[in-house]
């Protein structure tokens, strides 16, 4: 009896693995086709039947990305945005800390106001923010791209939830020892909050790496384009050069997958946290 159920269980398991494997072909096929096409020379791309592995692999498409398409500049801009988004993380952490560990008049009301901003879709604020930045002369500038995205209500919320679990005695003891409030934040709160920083840092970096709509609106000058905006431009200019398009796409997708492979744990944690709220 026991053996039969064991046998049945492992038979089920193989069936499920087979099913999942078939499905994952569908999930991975676009990635495979993207990478494969990106290494094909122009004449091989339009072969029928198509070659799955490039017969004469070439890196010409990638060279063209950087020689003719300014992908170097787009990369630099994207990394600048990513860097400043990390500063945004610290700003959110500071606010989260105050909401978690201090008592002050109006605290509840301000916190609810912060939470309420999560319900506001980007489509509503993008037009007034554009007009405001235009009045301040910040359209088509890096600060104009970076500033509106620095603070995040959801980030503040997550920091607050986590920091509320840090023992208050730790903070009190440091205060008695005469540490300044800023020092307490830097030397006690930040190190204690490493896990939540890791989760949020990963997601913030990916968000910055993928940033598209706002830079598209604010940047008129190609020198301020991010990778995503540059890639959309490439698609418009080289509509039938699929090798070049796939090389550009690979360049945006593969680094994130590599980051993901190293930091997998934080991704799963991050999504689970958002799911539980």
């Amino acid at each position: 009896m026991g053996e039969i159920t064991m046998y049945r269980k492992s038979k089920d398991k193989y069936f499920i693995i087979m099913l999942l494997l078939i499905g994952s072909i569908g999930m991975l096929l676009p990635f495979f086709w993207m990478v494969s096409t990106s290494f094909k020379p122009a004449n091989e791309i339009f072969n029928i039947p198509p070659t799955f592995i490039p017969k004469k692999p070439t890196i010409q498409n990638y060279v063209q990305l950087f020689r003719e398409m300014n992908f170097g500049i787009y990369l630099k801009n994207t990394l600048i945005i990513a860097l400043f988004s990390m500063l945004g993380l610290v700003i959110n952490a500071l606010a989260g800390y105050a909401f978690a560990k201090f008592q002050f008049p109006g605290k509840e009301k301000i916190f609810y106001l912060v939470l309420a901003t999560m319900m506001i879709p980007g489509q509503v604020t993008m037009i007034p923010v554009y007009l405001m930045l235009n009045k301040m002369g910040l359209t088509n500038t890096m600060p104009g791209i970076i500033l509106p995205g620095l603070a995040s209500a959801f980030g503040i919320f997550l920091f607050r939830q986590f920091m509320a679990t840090i023992p208050s005695e730790l903070i009190e003891a440091a205060r008695i020892d005469g540490a300044s409030e800023f020092r307490i934040f830097l030397q006690i709160i930040l190190p204690e909050s490493k896990p939540v920083f890791a989760v949020q840092g990963t997601f913030t970096f990916i968000g910055a790496w993928n940033s598209f709509l706002w830079p598209l609106i604010i940047a008129n000058d190609e020198n301020l384009y991010t990778l995503s905006v540059g890639l959309a431009l490439l698609k418009g200019q080289h509509g039938s050069d699929f090798g070049l398009q796939m090389a550009g796409s690979t360049f945006l997708v593969i680094p994130i997958i590599i980051v993901f492979l190293f930091l997998q744990r934080y991704f799963v944690e991050g999504i689970t946290i958002t799911g539980i709220k």
């Binding site: 089920d12 398991k13 693995i17 099913l19 999942l20 499905g23 994952s24 999930m27 096929l29 676009p30 990635f31 086709w33 339009f46 029928i48 198509p50 700003i91 500071l94 606010a95 105050a98 909401f99 002050f104 605290k107 301000i110 106001l113 912060v114 879709p121 489509q123 509503v124 604020t125 037009i127 007034p128 554009y130 007009l131 405001m132 235009n134 500033l147 620095l150 603070a151 209500a153 409030e181 598209f212 709509l213 995503s228 890639l231 959309a232 699929f242 796939m246 550009g248 796409s249 690979t250 945006l252 997708v253 994130i256 997958i257 993901f260 492979l261 997998q264 991704f267 689970t272 799911g275």
Partner: protein, 299 residues
């Protein structure tokens, strides 16, 4: 005076700490809502941007014109279509895959989980371009695969009916990963005693699935339904890159309509009015979430 100084000293740190983030949110999220409401009642466009004296208060005319515009009505129809077809598909697929992935814990299942998760972190623009190539009528991989099984090639992105479904398929592929993780977390939270009790009662695996797993996933299902609905309501990058809203506005989403009118045509006031209609739809869904949250399944 002394009291004020004492008050300031007592509270200056928390206020100092929240100031940067809260003032940024105030300037870039809260104030803009009111600005948007005001400009949606004006005729501000590119000439108004150059010289404010060109701006006139026109009451609700933008809203009236929106609902006279067949393209806007079409974009509402399409957006609702995306929600009605897209949301159930995302729920069914991510729940189904999560239940299968929950079956084992060994390395094979971990790798498979990784495969299903990968599309969800990738860049929307890049994957839209990759799928555009897969959908290519003459040289695309999909039409080649169809030809292998003797089927005729499809006009994936230029047939008005098929184009919407093609975009939904791509967005579904991308949405499975994150939602599947939410279902997996919920599945792992179901106490073992439930299955043990069912075993004693002689329940088979289908009964366990239908009577225990799926009902106890209702909280996660609801969360996925709400966030996915809000996501589909804001559907933008895929139609922007792949079809530009065409053919014949058949893939035009509300978010794309708002973007085109605001930033390509410069009708800021008109576009702000459109964004308020979208806002109203999103707020309705969000408030529904709060209302229904009270009747959760407890375990």
């Amino acid at each position: 005076m002394k009291n004020i100084i004492r008050w300031i000293n007592k509270y200056k740190y928390p206020y100092l700490f929240i100031m940067p983030a809260v003032s940024l949110l105030l300037v870039f999220t809260i104030i803009p809502i009111f600005v948007a409401l005001i400009i949606s009642l004006t005729n501000i466009d590119l000439s108004g941007l150059a010289d404010w004296s060109n701006i006139q208060f026109i009451g609700l005319r933008n809203y009236i014109n929106l609902f006279k515009d067949s393209a806007f009505k079409k974009s509402i129809f399409n957006t609702v279509y995306y929600v009605v077809i897209g949301v159930p598909l995302v729920i069914i697929f991510s729940m189904f895959i999560a239940i299968l992935l929950d079956y084992g814990k060994n390395i094979i299942f971990k790798i498979l989980r990784l495969f299903y998760y990968m599309p969800s972190i990738t860049n929307s623009i890049a994957v839209a371009i990759v799928w555009g190539w897969l959908y290519n009528t003459n040289y695309g991989l999909f039409n080649y695969l169809l030809s292998l099984v003797g089927l005729p090639g499809q006009q994936w992105l230029s047939n008005p009916i098929l184009a919407k479904l093609s975009l939904i398929l791509l967005a579904l592929w991308k949405a499975i990963g994150a939602n599947m993780i939410i279902f997996l977390a919920a599945l792992q939270g179901i106490p073992k005693v439930y299955y043990e009790a069912a075993d004693i009662d002689g329940a088979n695996k289908w009964q366990k699935l239908i009577k225990i797993k799926i009902p106890l996933l209702s909280h996660a299902t609801f969360f996925v339904a709400v966030t996915t609905t809000i996501g589909w309501l804001q559907f933008f990058e895929e139609p922007f890159v792949m079809t530009g809203g065409g053919p014949l506005n058949s893939t035009l989403s509300m978010a794309l309509y708002i973007y085109q009118n605001g930033f390509q045509l410069g009708y800021f006031g008109y576009s702000a009015a459109g964004s308020f209609v979208l806002f109203l739809m999103i707020i309705t869904v969000t408030l529904m979430q709060f209302k229904f949250k009270k009747n959760n399944v407890e375990y």
